[in-house]
């Protein structure tokens, strides 16, 4: 049980008062952005990257992970009380949760979401701790070609396997890959696509792109769609506490949601929301009260909320052990690691075990903090929803630009922010997914490096790319992930896929 002793070591690291403070700040911020519609955890971490530069790496990373977990808790509040999901992984929760709130059962809906999130987060974080050492052992044997194949799989699943059009997903991905070309080539030092502009030699900052596309793009989009009427916050009536029957109906849904959500997060399939859809479908099929679905069935809140927290923990498996982000938030967290000169992957477990295990252990602590923040203090968060939209978005714009100004107050950088913001807006209007652009920008240079390394080892022999069983299998899966959904769509079965569309978190 080496994982257990590592975890104990990690707990002793994470108990440091400063790190506890970072975790508390992270989960509080995370809950707040989860509650507020329009801003999600990916964006918040991106905003904080420049602010944390020069602070303690362990503390900052713990804070980022806390924001990720907190966002998953907070999103349910908005879904249940406002019928507007706070972040994309809570869309499903709005279906049943809002109906429950309208029927005066908002309290139990919030409670089953919070307790389900807690249980799922706890189990999934433990699963992460026990699984990580095994994945690390496997990953140590990975060569450049295997990494390249893994990234290809990641590209395809993030961009085109889900959503309503493979074409639009691939276009988004290749826009990201094109942006990744800008700057100095890592292997030969030649400038690509810089056009003599010195600010472009460093390449396009991940944080600038992420903030522009997620925050500014969303703000433009909401401004453009303002015609739709204001939403009504439903007051919580009656008891917050769940009845014995609620408990009896919830606990199985929590566990099933966890079992569904964790592997979905861990696979390079992008996004926590896919697990929530599958969990909802499973609960609907297995329920003894199918007639309640659509009218406020508690299982329909408990299962998906557990699933989205479990997949948040699942996402950390490939991120920490392979350095492979499978969601937008994970991609931004990878940028956070790199900002501190750390490269997640099997080597990080060897060179910096204290940091990795401290991070994993602190997630267990963060989870407990979140339960306290979200059950007794729920009334405070609900008040955030009463901020009028003009003030809310004006504030979001100030903080969105603050990060970029703090990192690099040049007009060129800010102009890029504006241009990418408008690009994100137009992409939203015309139904192009955003996450593939960010994933392409982050993974593009890594994939190129691994590819060129693999070819160097084989002295230019292209067949080396399918030369190991692992890389051949992964590439075969990538082709399947590209072709099978396209065939399904052609046969008119695309509706299910577009429902599974991976969005930003």
């Amino acid at each position: 049980m080496e994982a257990l002793s590592f975890l104990m070591q990690g707990l002793s690291v994470a108990m440091d008062p400063m790190l506890l403070l970072y975790a508390l700040i992270g989960v509080t911020l995370g809950t707040a952005v989860g509650v507020l519609p329009g801003i999600g955890p990916a964006l918040t971490v991106a905003l904080l990257l420049p602010v944390t530069y020069g602070h303690d790496p362990a503390g900052s990373l713990i804070m980022f992970a806390g924001i990720y977990y907190g966002g998953m808790y907070g999103g349910s509040t908005t879904s249940i009380l406002l019928n507007t999901p706070g972040e994309s992984a809570s869309i499903i929760t709005a279906l049943e949760g809002n109906k429950m709130a309208r029927a005066g059962r908002g309290g139990p809906a919030l409670a089953t979401a919070a307790i389900g999130s807690f249980i799922a987060g706890l189990i999934a974080t433990l699963a992460l701790a026990f699984l990580a050492p095994y994945v690390v052992k496997v990953a140590l044997a990975f060569g450049p070609r295997d990494y390249f194949a893994l990234m290809c799989l990641s590209f395809i699943t993030v961009s085109s396997a889900f959503g309503d059009s493979a074409r639009k997903g691939l276009i988004s991905l290749f826009i990201g890959l094109s942006l990744a070309l800008v700057g100095i080539d890592q292997l030969t030092g030649q400038a690509r696509l810089a056009f003599g502009v010195p600010q472009l030699l460093d390449g396009i900052e991940v944080t600038t792109l992420a903030v522009a596309m997620f925050a500014l793009g969303e703000a433009f989009f909401v401004a453009g769609n303002r015609a739709t009427g204001d939403d009504q916050v439903i007051a919580i009536k009656g008891s917050v506490w769940m009845t014995a029957q609620d408990w009896a109906r919830s606990w199985k849904a929590w566990l099933r949601g966890t079992v569904i959500g964790f592997p979905i997060g861990a696979l390079p399939a992008g996004g926590a929301e896919i697990g929530t859809f599958l969990s909802y479908a499973a609960e609907k099929r297995l329920s003894k009260h199918p007639e309640e679905f659509g009218n406020g069935a508690i299982e329909g809140v408990a299962g998906p909320e557990a699933a989205n927290n479990a997949s948040a923990a699942g996402t950390l498996v490939p991120l920490l052990t392979l350095g492979l982000p499978t969601s937008a938030t994970a991609a931004i967290m990878l940028a956070g690691f790199q900002q501190f000169g750390l490269q997640p992957g099997p080597l990080l477990f060897v060179t910096n075990p204290q940091l990795v295990w401290g991070l994993i252990a602190s997630l267990l602590i963060a989870n407990c903090m979140l339960l306290v923040l979200n059950l007794p203090l729920i009334g405070l968060w609900v008040r955030l929803l009463t901020i009028p939209k003009p003030w809310l978005y004006a504030g979001i714009m100030v903080f969105a630009t603050l990060g970029t100004i703090g990192a690099n107050p040049s007009p060129v950088e800010l102009a890029m922010l504006l241009i990418f913001g408008l690009m994100g807006y137009l992409m939203r209007v015309h139904g192009y997914p955003i996450a593939p652009v960010v994933v392409g920008l982050i993974l593009g240079p890594m994939a190129e490096q691994q590819l060129r390394r693999a070819l160097s080892i084989a002295q230019g022999d292209v067949l080396t790319l399918v030369g190991s069983p692992l890389s051949a299998t992964l590439l075969a899966f990538s082709v399947l992930a590209l072709v099978v959904p396209m065939v399904l769509r052609m046969r008119g079965k695309g509706q299910m896929l577009s429902q599974l569309a991976a969005e930003e978190d």
Binding site: T188, Y393, P409, L414, G460
Partner: protein, 162 residues
Amino acid sequence: MSGYNPSQRRPDGAALAMAGLLAVLGGVILWDAARLHQTGGYSGVGPGDVARWIGYALLALAVWSGVAAFRETPVRPPRQDAVSVLWVAGGLGAQILLLNTAGFAIATGLLFAFTARGFGKRNLALTIPVGIIFALVVYLVFAGLLKLTLPAGPLEHLFLGK
């Protein structure tokens, strides 16, 4: 054969525009890759090769988009309120222009007010002062306490006294 003739319908303008943009982007990347000095080393793949593949992929996607514009039923995007979007974008523009002369608080205060205008708070005489005070508080917290370097103007010097 089934009497369906795609050319009778108007093509999807958005998809056509996307096809054009992708073609231009692909062309620029190919042009840039062609002028790179190729040093493939052992791999036989130099800095220009990966760029060239991406360029070709973009051209292929441009063709795909162009074909789709004529064959797929266009999805009408939701109606957009352009004036509101322009107010928010204009706020950012004002911030970029004023940042290094007027300082963080005034430039960001204008961004705040213009954004609020885009979301329906029309009274700029109220929102600009509120925005400047808000941005000044943000400045004092982030530059003063968290040591973030933000451009200072007359207002900031007044408060931090430099």
